[in-house]
Amino acid sequence: MSTPSHGRSPGLSLGAFARRPEAGSLVGLFLVFAFFAVLGGPVFVGAPGWSSWLNIAAEVGIVALPVGLLMIAGELDISVGAVIPASQMTAAIVSGFHGLPAPAGIACGLGVGLAVGFVNGYLVTRTAISSLIITIGTMFSVMGLTLGFAVLVAGSTSVSLVPDPVTKLLLGTFIGGMFNVSMFWWAAFAVAIFYLLHVSPIGNWIFALGGDRESARNAGVPTSRLTIALYMLSGFAAAFVGILQVATYTSAQVATGQPFIFNSIMCVVIGGVLLTGGAGSVAGIVIGTMTFAIVNQGIFFSGLDPNVGSVIIGALLLAAVLSNDTFRALALKHAARRGNRGEER
């Protein structure tokens, strides 16, 4: 009761930070890193360790960012797992099999992602079916189409694409033989999506959409267009990861996307995004992605049974959800308490 609380800006004080959901995620990140640093030793703390988990983090992170936006808006996107192989297969067929220039294949691959995103968004806004079911449906359809077309056109479930040097440099190089350029793309996605969610007015719409869709629509938010745009963004990002993969490994496979479905959702939830929508942050999603990738790769450096890695990820997920709830309750209680104090004055 002693200090007046007027005009204190948030985020500057330690107390305000401790009440943010990302605080828990950050603590989790440090703990996980310390754990594997001890077990994995100098190799894990050195360049090989960093590059191995950053490479994983970059790919899943590019998908997790827009999936996180969708989750903040109260929707899910399972179809990313099918868009990744669909885009790389499209690019490989256009540029590898038919021999068109790489940019044409890349454009077609990204177009597939945007198209699947549009279909998802359209179905979600025009029907009352939950987005989980709709995107599971589109995932299976896209997966089947990818496999069917690959066999029909190229006669194989694996199509090779040898990118030209510029494409290879921009999308599929290992810097120093270890660090994939994908991590720069991840950083670029993070900056762009940070701007979208936390700086631009559209971010406010996304939070409102997840908080209360009906009220948001009544307040003049173009909810349907926004939902479709978010699905297209997620389709685009997944397609982009597909392109990065084909540029890196010079071959498109039809079954490369499945792990991304749950991994992206896990990164987002570990990062403090509320499953039911309405709350979350880009910083949290990035932290969650790093945590996930460190566990995923740290296990190989630590000499532990790889199955232990899955157990750790599962435990982290539960801990994250519990701590998110706790932090949220703290934040709300804090707001209420400050209000009561105000009344006493």
Binding site: P10, W205, G211, A216, G278, H334
Partner: protein, 274 residues
């Protein structure tokens, strides 16, 4: 009664959903600076009536007039563009967003130019806090606070202040005090009076007669989709209004019969009537 033109008027409005008639020849007037209380039990047609006013439904027959001119709303957006704002119980507020962000959802103040627009948090917070404080909610002093930490009454007040700030002329309040405690309800009633003082036409939907009598100038009781009574302040007592809402059956006799039953049956209440 003054001969002023009502701000909003309904003339013999019917609303049917297929074969089911929900509203029958509803005629109502509300003037600027006046509170019209719409009373009615559950299922009396209150919700359908306010949804018709707010543009969610279109009247099957009859007309709606604003400032004496017939109007037709194709959707809620058109109604709100004309200055009709509906505030639902907790509607329009997002618990996990800050007060400033809540206030400006859909109409964010921005800085910057072209595609690089920046949400102006400082300006949003300042305006939101000032608007709410002007309505007498002095507890709110920080626009960064989460709305979920506010009381139900404060959330209502925020929603009302928001509607007024964005140019509402007719304020439809859908059961704003239903879920609130006594103190919080008093809070909201103060806000209703403040809105009235500012010259808004307020349509206050409730089934709590006490709350209606505290702020109402004009009362209409809905029973089974029709206006069963239409009277002005001071013309009826609380008991008379409660009786009207209960569908003509006297509340007093209803209470007496329950008490009589309990005396005869060792304190057990009677089984519900079918």
């Amino acid at each position: 009664m003054t001969a002023r033109m009502p701000l909003l008027e309904l003339r013999k409005v019917d609303k049917s959903f297929g074969p089911i008639d929900v509203l029958h020849e509803i005629s109502l007037k509300v003037h600027a600076g006046e509170v019209l209380c719409l009373l009615g039990d559950n299922g009396a047609g209150k919700s359908t009536l306010i949804k018709t006013l707010a543009g969610v439904h279109q009247p099957t027959r009859g007309e709606i007039l604003m400032d004496g001119q017939p109007v037709a709303f194709a959707n809620p957006r058109e109604a709100s563009d004309r200055g009709i704002a509906t505030v639902h119980q907790f509607g329009g507020t997002y618990p996990l967003m800050s007060i400033g962000r809540n206030f400006f959802v859909g109409a964010e103040p921005t800085r910057g130019w072209g595609p690089f627009k920046v949400f102006d948090r400082k300006k949003a917070n300042e305006i939101a806090v000032k608007a709410v404080r002007d309505f007498g909610i002095t507890r709110i002093d920080d626009g960064d606070r989460l709305v979920g930490g506010l009381s139900g009454g404060e959330r209502q007040s925020l929603a009302i202040a928001r509607a007024v700030y964005f140019g509402a002329r007719v304020l439809i309040l859908d059961e704003p005090t239903a879920a609130l405690g006594v103190k919080q309800a008093a809070h909201v009633l103060r806000i209703v009076n403040e809105a009235k003082k500012r010259g808004l036409a307020v349509i206050f939907i409730t089934h709590q007669v006490m709350h209606a009598m505290a702020v109402g100038d004009h009362f209409a009781v809905l029973i089974r989709g029709a206006v069963a009574a239409d009277f002005r302040k001071g013309e009826k007592t609380r008991e008379q209004i409660a009786d009207l809402m209960a569908g003509g059956e006297s509340m007093v006799s209803l209470e007496a019969s329950i008490e009589g039953y309990m005396e005869r049956h060792k304190g057990h209440v009677p089984p519900p009537a079918h």
